[in-house]
Symmetry: C3
């Protein structure tokens, strides 16, 4: 009897970069509960290890994901998943990853694939990418945050267009409405995402993390909270070794060599 293919999440560390690859290629990377947990664990590792500065989230094969493997989540015998509160949530609905995350997508990128990509920071799409938030076509609605992430990215009208029609849209449209930052020929999306991640990793990691965290404060708590947060992170950053290295490298007209301290 063949072993069930429940999918895997491969991780690979290269310097300050962590590459996280979804792999259940034969099933178009449709997510099992096991994969979701493993992805949460990988993102938690990225978030917690001080020497990991940037993550790349990608998927094996021609397609990002066909969505949830519904029977394994909701079918008879499915174990009800308890979200582990202490783990980073791939949908950004619970604990968030405070390190930058660059996502690469290609081909079929349906439902939760869009929601996880929008919960990341920067998205590189292959020109083959096809997006569809089709839950309402199947009798339900998006449960992974699409209902507010679409509105944040695209504004009410464009958000409602795709959420209510459940239409399929392509990479150029996704770029137009701010879901995707770069569109590249298929096959280059992971390399390009990695390149962007490496550029980010050259910047001061504490400065980058403070930027992301304080932007999250804005998104979660509004403008007044985002303004109130400035003095604290300003003092914290001005006191770092990296801030001195930044000024020194500027004076010496050389590239800075940041340590994350």
């Amino acid at each position: 009897m063949a072993e069930e293919d429940l999918g895997r999440i491969h991780t690979e560390v290269d310097g300050h970069l962590m590459k996280i690859m979804v792999d259940r290629e034969k099933k178009r990377n449709s997510f099992t509960p096991e994969m979701m947990n493993a992805l949460g664990a990988a993102l938690t590792q990225l978030d917690e290890e001080p020497d990991l500065w940037v993550g790349v989230l990608c998927a094996k094969g021609d397609h990002t994901t066909a969505g949830l493997d519904m029977p394994r989540f909701f079918g008879p015998g499915a174990q009800r998943q308890q979200r582990t509160e202490s783990q980073v949530d791939p949908f950004g609905l619970g604990r968030k990853c405070c390190k930058p995350l660059v996502a690469a997508v290609q081909g079929i990128t349906y439902t939760i694939g869009i929601e996880m990509m929008l919960a990341a920071d920067i998205v590189v799409a292959a020109d083959t990418a096809r997006f569809c938030q089709m839950e309402a076509r199947r009798g339900i609605a998006p449960f992974g945050g699409a209902h507010f992430r679409y509105v944040h990215r695209a504004g009410w009208g464009n958000a409602m267009y795709h959420l209510l029609l459940c239409d399929e849209f392509d990479a150029l449209r996704a770029k137009e409405i701010g879901f995707v930052q770069e569109v590249v020929p298929a096959g280059q999306q992971i390399d390009r995402a990695t390149e962007l991640a490496k550029t980010i990793a050259k910047n001061a990691p504490l400065g980058i993390q403070a930027t992301k965290q304080s932007a999250l404060t804005y998104v979660e708590e509004g403008e007044a909270a985002a303004i109130a947060a400035i003095p604290e992170f300003r003092e914290r950053l001005l006191a770092t070794e990296d801030s001195r290295e930044g000024i020194q490298s500027f004076i010496e007209r050389r590239e800075a060599n940041f340590k994350g301290r």
Copy 2:
């Protein structure tokens, strides 16, 4: 003595669709208090009747509306309008319609015309459409929500551009800043809006309504509230007949036949 033309709101039900047409064509559909009340009543009917799933809001003739019929609202002898709190507000400032609303606009679409279109969900514009939020040119300011809907849709800079200049802009610009989702040749805007409404009506109505309602929660109360709302609507939708029909139709590889239960 000729009877005064105070305008009409025609409504027409076709299956799960409700078409709502503004008609005071000879006065370029400028709104009287009577029309505003009738429009509120029509939207309330759409919101309340379970068998109505999607609305189409449109206007008769070459122009959407020249705006308010000012003397009838503010002139001597004008009766002060009391907003009926229990009725759906066409501007979305009071009670909101929780069913999807697709608007079609053409030609002159001034002041309240823009505000009502932005209070709808999806907008199809004829290529003749001309927009102008001109209140400050006339000594006052927009009172129907433009001051915040422009900012939500277009961001501060683009919003201030049109709100402070009171310039006229066309359908392509309106699409660029997210006010309009599709631009079509003049004369096709109502048909195309109806087509979109029919596509929406094929999706599970409870899923669609939950999506719109939870997106409204985000807009009104922010991200944390939008996240907190998920478990409730998730449980509610997973327990519907339509969610079972969705899975069944998927297994049987046929179109789903939703009932709104």
Copy 3:
């Protein structure tokens, strides 16, 4: 011994317009604490004098600004700047200017240059404009509001792209993400900004200010607060002389002549 060039802020009043020009051209307009204070004073004057209706913020020479003159702000001997709470803050983090502000930018427009431009209302960019939020490249992070203004304007993905990569982007990209409203050939940006300001100054100033103030209410306090503010500013504006002049000029088919009363 040559006198130190600490920079100047020139102001010039032309009718209801106030032009504010940053000038430390030989140092690419890098800001000293003295310039920052003088800019705050100029914006406070614009905000407070009833006959000033619109401001134009611009910079002398080929470049908007290279950013802060770091040694003068953070170096040894730098006096710690106390933000004067009673003055308008050029970054819009404290007291805000309630009059419209049109900014013109050109060439190098780095760090605080972007932040001040985003704290203004409308931006005209020369086609030479080059933007870079490069603080994290130098070991720190943006302290002037970029972390939330980018997100507001461009949405999470595009904001993170530029904030985390610290890349340089041009005027067309800035327009694409809503940072800039018009791009003009270099040399025309100040004239064009002045032209826009003059158009705004033709509109009823109290209507314009109410529009900006109520839009700020939305940004600071959310949709419910923006809706709750309507009746007050509606009553206030309908009672002004300018609102009567607006209706009268409409009836007489002539341009309105507003007084700001």
